[in-house]
Amino acid sequence: MLTGTLRALCAAIVILAGPALAETRVALVIGNSAYQHTTPLANPENDARDMAAKLSSLGFDIVEGYNLGLDELEDTVRSFAREASRADLSVFYYAGHGMSVDNINYIVPIDATLESEIDWEFEVYEVERILRYVQRANHASLIFLDACRDNPLADKLALLQGMGTRSISNRGISRIPTETLGTTGTVIAYATEPGQVASDGAGKNSPFTAAVLNHIGAANTDFAALTSRITRDVLASTDNVQRPRFDISLTGELFLNKVDTPITTSEVTEPTTPAPAQDTNLAVANLTVQTAIFEAAQASDDAADYQAYLDQFPNGPFAPLARNAIERLTRVASVPTDTETTVTDVATGPSIEQEQVTRMMSTPLELTATPAVQAQPANADTLRALNLDDRKRREVQLRLTLANIPVGAIDGDIGPTTRRGISAWQTQNQLQPTGYLNASQLEILMANTDAAFRSHMAANPTALDAPVRRQPAQVSTGTSSSSSSNNSGGAAAAAAAGVIGGVILCKALNC
């Protein structure tokens, strides 16, 4: 690209590529305020209109819709799908009520009643359907979901007897598995941690949308750098109560507002933020994610974990520390430090080279289903023989969830839903899909979800403590940590899983 060439030619002056005007940008903007069967929301429509105006000023063609019933929503999405197929960059922004049932996310149109355990599914719109249109176009995409406001309709739905033990979040959407987003560069932005309540805002805009509007037009700033400014603003305006979440897996820089004035490097970014990394293969995530992963590495003090951080964030703020730690651990490993006992005759000659050892140390353990493992039976008996206690069963469910396998609630009950999940996981791992684990399979699951699991537990220390089994007559509103584990993962897990994709900003799904 032009940018790179000129940078190479001229070290002192960075000339940013002429306004990304050659690029086609399309945005779908939806704001639902005027709910007919529950209290209307004050801000989503304002938020969406302001967002549409802002995106339009950044060169986006806008497909917009406000206060949409299901039919209008369908039509609007269809027009967007057509537009998106020719786009180079697309944005989806939704403000309004959202909800999650068994980890499937839905936008709630304004005409939804959610009064029947049969009909509700025909009244709402699956978020992932829209994401498919985004992904099919095979380009970078940003998705903003501001749907994390208290949702009385979902409360009502959860009360219906016919919903049984289905896991319903009355706080909007759950985290979207990033693996569904392809590899074209993705950001998913949520107004708050999925499972937490976001504020609708006392002013004209919700705190999240206000912050996005304020920063998204910053000139020549990588989107990754914007996320920390948005986070800072939202925290400040909510007394640190609401923290947006960004699941970011961009494969390069993303500039929403490129300005082609030649400028010196020092002016490219505001002094308050670090210069965006220039490594085109950089995967960036917000500081929260990086901190969680780095802290997990510190907790284990394992070179492989530090390396896992570096793989994700080679230029992250903790990268120098991580490199130092790996160097220290490698040095310790290669030089016996205890002189009380003598390590005698290593004179036989090292048939295992230092380099081999260092490489193994810095590689996270990953197990694969060998033919020997594939030949081992996995059935109800082998599962029973594992003698998993309640907590361990929840751990299995959480790990499957972190592997992006839906298993329903993390309730320690290895029932039909979890077994379906186990089968799906087995298929993914070249194992017979029996729905039951054996010891070797459990080891594969544990080893290969280790980084994600530890990041998750670092962020949610109580994730496995209490079952999230929903009482039949009430919605579990008070278990944010368990419901977020139910929602699989969090940004840390996504980052740890190394997903690469588009941009999804979840600001507006009133979770």
Binding site: D301, V332, T341, D345, V357, S440, E443, M446, A447, D450
Partner: protein, 185 residues
């Protein structure tokens, strides 16, 4: 830190270099330490004289506490009071596998000795089955994932009969896996 296994009053110290970062942190097991500790020449006088006289015949399915065989202690992590390997345990076994696959170990056979002290029952009886299952889990893991030939590894559960730290039965040092080279030389 080096973990030293003093085998049954013999003069032999076989050892594995287990290098630890600060307390409670995950340890990294250096495969070269394992290799070194299991070398045939680490056998003590008893075993050497048996080997020389041709009376050495050990198949690994019995307690070997009286023999000064080449031995390493490996800290293999398990979930508390179960035979479920922890990820840390699997990481240690990756090092063990690298050692067992080294050319000089080709064809050598090992007893995989499980030691475990039940916290609730330090007088042994409850400890043996778990120690045996742990040894079996190690053998299964090494043979399943790393292609170590099953006939090279014989699992055996010692329960609480052969404590590394007799004075302090609850010591974590008593919950360990040993590899013992039982190859007839």
């Amino acid at each position: 830190m080096l973990i030293v296994s003093l085998r049954r009053g013999s003069a032999l110290c076989a050892l594995a270099a287990v290098l630890a970062a600060p307390a409670a942190a995950q340890m990294f097991l250096d495969p070269r330490g394992v290799l070194d500790g299991l070398a045939a020449e680490k056998a003590g006088p008893t075993v050497r004289s048996m080997q020389q006289s041709g009376s050495f015949n050990v198949n690994g399915s019995q307690a070997l506490s009286l023999l000064d065989l080449p031995t390493v202690d490996v800290q293999v992590g398990f979930e508390a009071d179960t035979a479920l390997l922890s990820v840390q345990g699997m990481v240690s076994l990756r090092s063990v596998a690298m050692a067992l696959k080294a050319p000089e170990m080709e064809g050598q056979r090992f007893q995989v000795a499980g030691h475990y002290v039940s916290a609730s029952d330090q007088n042994q009886a409850a400890s043996q089955p778990i120690s045996a299952r742990r040894a079996q889990a190690v053998v299964r893991h090494l043979t399943s994932f790393y292609g170590i030939a099953p006939d090279r590894l014989v699992p055996f559960g010692y329960g609480a009969t052969d404590l590394a730290d007799q004075m302090n039965p609850a010591s974590p040092a008593n919950t360990r896996i040993e590899l013992i080279n039982i190859t007839a030389q």
